[in-house]
């Protein structure tokens, strides 16, 4: 049905259109962007290399058509002439379209290979895990901190130096125990029930907090930890957020029993009991706590026997102190000084940028 011969005008395999069957024939062929008129005459039929004579046609339709008609007028059929003209128009269209395609972006459709895609994605995940980005970043940051890149900015994350006390910690504990013996028996039962409700972790947290409270109360000189501040809090959010966080944390950590009534009288019993109880369990919990408290400095040795009201005051004072202390931490003036001095490395700024993006 279709002719494979390259010289065929219409492309159909018929007696009329066959370039081999006809001794007199003509075609129009597109060769490297140029349109040629190919003519076949019987005079050259036996000389295959010269058989097809070709002439370049102009891209102007009128001149081309004129030329075609004039050359083929006396030798070829009228139908053949028309076919050549039509083919010429078609080839022009093709040229136009190829030009357009070259100018436009060509979408190349590539097949998605399931196997390779699946394999690559899995390998990416594995590589991501293996890279341990978070850990490495953490280490890097710590290194920088330790080397002193940040100067005095982030001193809160430094490890606290333990100060030696004149009174031994154990003797202090004994003191507290004797005082609260009376209360223990009455409230031990209720506390035991409460204990069952609580998680051990909760107790541990509470114990920490209680101890922290103790610390804050007894040692004003020492720079306090942000006891109630979570680990995830940024250094930038120091001033205002701490107060809120303190309150919230207290509320969250304490039992479901009393939401806002933590500061009431009931607290005394609870806290005392907890403190007493915690004393016994302290040694057991130490290992757990140590993991949490790499950055935070907490002395487990001391206990607080005081009432809740006193604790409130303590907290307030602590907060004030903290505020003062915190204000010291992020001293914009200080930062400016450092910058001017040139002590602040550019790395910090970069890091800040990264945070924004995140």
């Amino acid at each position: 049905m279709f002719c494979k011969n390259e010289y065929n005008v219409t492309g159909l395999c018929t007696r009329v259109n066959c370039p081999l069957s006809n001794s007199v024939y003509a075609t129009v062929i597109l060769d490297k962007g140029e349109i040629y008129l190919y003519l076949k005459y019987p005079e050259n039929a036996h000389l295959p290399s010269i058989m097809w004579s070709r002439t370049l046609l102009s891209l102007n339709k009128q001149t081309a058509f004129n030329y075609i008609y004039k050359t083929m007028k006396y030798t070829h059929n009228k139908t053949q002439i028309k076919k050549c003209m039509k083919r010429y128009m078609r080839l022009k269209e093709i040229l136009k379209r190829t030009r357009k395609m070259v100018l436009n972006k060509q979408l190349k459709l590539l097949p998605v290979k399931k196997k390779t895609e699946r394999r690559d994605s899995i390998r990416e995940k594995k590589a991501l895990k293996a890279a341990k980005i978070v850990n490495n970043v953490e280490l890097e940051l710590l290194n920088r901190l330790n080397t002193g890149v940040y100067g005095n900015l982030y001193k809160m994350f430094d490890k606290k130096k333990k100060k030696k006390k004149s009174v031994s910690e154990i003797s202090q504990k004994d003191m507290t125990l004797e005082e609260t013996e009376d209360n223990v028996e009455e409230e031990s039962e209720s506390k035991k029930k409460k204990k069952k409700k609580k998680d051990l972790e909760m107790e541990a947290i509470e114990s920490i907090e209680d101890e922290e409270d103790v610390d804050g109360y007894e040692y004003d000189e020492v720079e306090d930890d942000d006891e109630d501040v979570d680990v995830d809090v940024d250094d930038d959010d120091d001033d205002d957020d701490d107060d809120d966080e303190d309150v919230d944390d207290d509320a969250d950590v304490d039992d479901d029993v009393a939401g806002d009534s933590d500061n009431d009288a009931t607290d005394d019993e609870e806290d005392n009991a907890d403190a007493n109880v915690d004393m016994e369990d302290l040694d057991d919990d130490d290992s757990d706590l140590e993991d949490l408290d790499e950055e935070f400095d907490i002395d487990y040795d001391d206990e607080d026997i005081d009432d809740g009201e006193e604790k409130k005051k303590q907290k307030k004072t602590k907060k004030k102190k903290r505020k003062e202390q915190i204000e010291e931490y992020v001293d914009n003036e200080y930062i400016k000084k450092l910058k001017e001095a040139g002590k602040l490395l550019d790395e910090d700024e970069e890091i800040e940028d990264m945070n924004d993006k995140f």
Binding site: L20, S21, S23, P42, A45, H46, L47, P48, S49, M51
Partner: protein, 351 residues
Amino acid sequence: MATVRPVANVYSLSEKKAVGKVEVPVVFQTPIRNDLVQYVFTNMSKNTRHPYAVKLGAGYETSAESWGTGRAVARIPRVPGGGTHRAGQAAFGNMCRGGGMFNPTKIWRRWGRKLNLKEKRYAVCSSIAASGVTSLVLARGHRISNIKEVPLVVSDSIESLKKTKEALKVLIHLGLKDEVERIINSKKIRAGKGKMRNRKFKIRKGPLIIYDKDSGIKKAFRNIPGVELCKITRLNLLKLAPGGSIGRLCIWSESAFKKLDVIYGKTFQRGITKHNYILPKSIVKNADIHRIMKSENVQSSLLPKKHPYKKRTQNRNALTNYAVRCRLNPAYKILRALNIQKIKNNIALKN
């Protein structure tokens, strides 16, 4: 009928020009009868067959006899005796195990076919003539777009080529590079049992080189894939029209080309000229009927063309149909306009 030419050029092997001229033999004017060629080919190709058959006594080399009725077994002949599995088993029939086949093949099958001498000669002449027509050679599939001439006649120095390298160079020089490449790329492993029967590869057929005297040409060209050689005195239809298809590409040496005339009787030479053979003539000299009809000689003697009367279609009423009315009475248009004007004037006057 193929276009008749008086002379063909002889081409040199090294230079790209014609070295001499040869008169084209009369053979190239024989009518090209591809139907005859096909018939002769199919029968001629049977003549080289080797007989095959089943062994003459196969399946019957036992003394089996039927047990007859009353033994509660089928009545097929059974092997007598005892002591083996074979005893009592069925024999002889095509359905039995170890029995003979139905209609065993015999060696006295009619393997070859007889053909009339004239038929065979006609076929050969036809195929030679077909090899002289460019279109037919192209149609058969040979890549000859770059050849100088058809039929391709080469100087006699081709017959004394010794090396295959030189032979290949000659082919490329003649413009047959595409042809050779086509053949080399066409080598494929055959599908089917032919693989086991020493016919592993299938490959296209290339040019046929026809020579007069072998002084090395055979050995030079025989290793090139697709190329076949043939002596002029022993032209073989199976090579000239492979598969029964006419128009194989033939390369003639000059002396071979000249000998064609001698073989087919234009000039007599004892021993070479075919005895009492006159080349076949066509019944119709010019078989192109369309060309004849359209030629001046015929057209000028014809009567003028009669146009059929226009068939009356639906009748149009001239009184109501304005167009038809106007056609019949050209003045009607003006008259109508005048009348309309008159009426308008009257109306105007009344008002």
